[in-house]
Amino acid sequence: MDQLEHLVVRTNFALTDWAIVVVFLVVSTALGLWAQRYMRNMVDYAVAGRAVKPYLGIATIIASEMGLVTVMYSAQKGFTGGFAAFHMAFVSALACLIVGLTGFVVVPLRKRGVMTIPEFYEQRFGPRVRLIGGIVLAFSGILNMGMFLKADSLFITSVMGMTSQLQLKMAMTLMLGLVLLYTVLGGMVSVLVTDYMQFVVMSIGLVATSAFLMLKYPWTGLLQTVQDMKGDAGFNPLLPGEYGPLYVLWQMFLGLIGCCIWQTSVMRASSAESTRVVKITFSWGSLGFLIRFMVPYLWGIVAFVYILQRPDLKPVFMPADGQVASEVTLRAMPIALSSLMPVGAIGLLTAGMLAAAMSTYNTYLHCWSTVLTQDVANPLFGGTLTSRQRIALTRVIMVCIGGFLLVWGLWYPLGEQLWDYMAVTGLIYFAGAFAVLTLGLYWKGASRVGAVAAFMCGFLAIYGLAPVQKLVGFPVRSEYVGLATAAAALLAMYLGSALFPDPPTAAARQEESP
C-alpha cells in the first residue's frame, strides 16, 4: 500500500455521481423495508414461501452470485493473466449449464423440499449429521464472507478518490447497516425484491461500462497488446506458469461447486416454484456465471493496457523486478476505470457495483443466519422452537454476523493473501459437502459415518493457507490442495459408508422416503 500513497490518482467521480449513488442506496433500502410486510412465517422468511418464478429466480441468482468481491478478484486475474483467465468463466458457465440441463443435485434437493443443505443431511442421515454439517457450513461460510468488505473497500476507495481510511470505514459501515436493516426485517422476500432491483442496476452498469471500454480500446488492440506483453501464456491456460491443466480442472470443480453445492445457490433452488423452474433458473443462470467472471476479466485487461501507457503508474503496477503486492494489482481496475469513465457513467458504475455488493451481502447474511437457526440452534433445542422464535433468532444471528464482518473484514488488519484465505475457507465446507450431497443423493449405501468422515476431511484444506505451508516448510499449489482434499472427502465418504453402514432400520426408513 505504501507504493500507492505517493501517487496522485485522477478520478472523474463528481457530484452527479454522488447523487446517483445516494439515490440508489435510498431506493434500494426503502424497497427492502417495504417488502417485509409480505413476510408472515419461517417459510416466507427463509425461502419466500417457495413461490419464486423463473425470471425472478434468474435475476436473483445472478445478482447474488456476482458480488463486488468477485469483480475485484476477477479483474485482478485479467490484469495478471490476460485472456487466459477467460477459461475460468468458460468452465464455470459450462458447469452451471450442465447442472441446469440435468438437474444434478439441485432438482433432488428441491423435490425433498429442504430449505438448507443441512436439512437434507437430517432427512438422509439423521439429526447429528445435520448439526455437524450445519456448523461446518456456517463456520466456513462466515469466515469466507469475512473478506468481502476488505476487497469492496479497495474498489470504493479507488473510484471515489477518498483519501481518508476513516471516511471509507464509515461508508462501508453505513452500507452494511442498510443491508442489515432490510434483511433482518424482511428475510428472503426483501432479499428477492432488492436483488431484482440490484440486478437491473448491475446489468446496465456491466454492459454499458464494457461497451464504453471497447469503444475506447478496440478489441484487436487489446489482443495485440496482450500477445506482445505476455505471449501465448496470455491466451492459453494449459501452458505451465500461472495456470496449467490441473488448475483448469480445479476451476471446473469450483464451477460445479459454485452452482450446485454452495448454499446461497442452493437456496435459489429451494425458493423455486417447481423443479422445472429450478432447471430454467440454472440453465439461463449459466450466462450470469459466464458474465460475472468474464466482464471483470476484460476490465482488468483494459486496466493492464491503460497502466502500460501511463509512465507514472507503470513502475508501481508493473515494476521491473515483477514484485508487486496483491493489494496494488487489486486497485488497478478501479483506478483505471475512475479516470477512463466520464462523469455520470462512473456514478452509474459505482451504483452497479454497490448493487453487486449489497445483493451479495444480503443473500449471504440471510443464508448463514438461516443455517445457524435451522440447522444448529433448532436441533439443539430438540426442534421445539416456534416459527416466531426462529425468525427472532435468525435476526439476532444476522446482526451478530454483521458485527463480525465489520470487525474482521474492515477494522481488523488482514494480511495480503486474501484470495488464498477465501479459497481455503470455502474448501473447508464444500469438500465434505460435495461428497455427502452427491453420494447421499445418488447412492443408497451412503451412511452417517461416511458423512462425518467426509466433513472432517474438509479441514485438510487448512493446509492451503500460506502461513501453515510456511510453518511446515513444504509449499503446495492451491489446485493440488483443493483437488486432493475433495478426493480425500469422496474416498472417506465411500470407505466410511462401506465399512460402517447405517443400521437396517435407518436404511429401511430411507427406502420409504421419496
Partner: protein, 58 residues
C-alpha cells in the same frame, strides 16, 4: 490470431450479446414475477407443490 484468441473472442461477444438480451427479458418479465410473488404471499398460498416438507414446523 491463435485458436485460443478466437475462442475467447467468440466467447466474449456471444456471451455479452446473450447476457444483454437476457437482462432485457429478465428486467421486463422479472417485474411481473415480483408482482406475482407478492400476490402469492398475500394469499398465503399453501398448496402441495409449494409447501415442501419443512419438518421443523415452519
Amino acid at each position: 490470431m491463435s485458436e485460443w484468441a478466437w475462442l475467447w473472442t467468440g466467447t466474449w461477444f456471444v456471451g455479452l450479446a446473450l447476457f444483454s438480451a437476457l437482462s432485457v427479458a429478465v428486467t421486463i418479465w422479472g417485474a411481473r414475477d415480483v408482482v406475482s410473488l407478492f400476490r402469492s404471499l398475500a394469499r398465503g398460498r399453501t398448496d402441495g407443490s409449494a409447501s415442501g416438507t419443512d419438518k421443523t414446523g415452519g
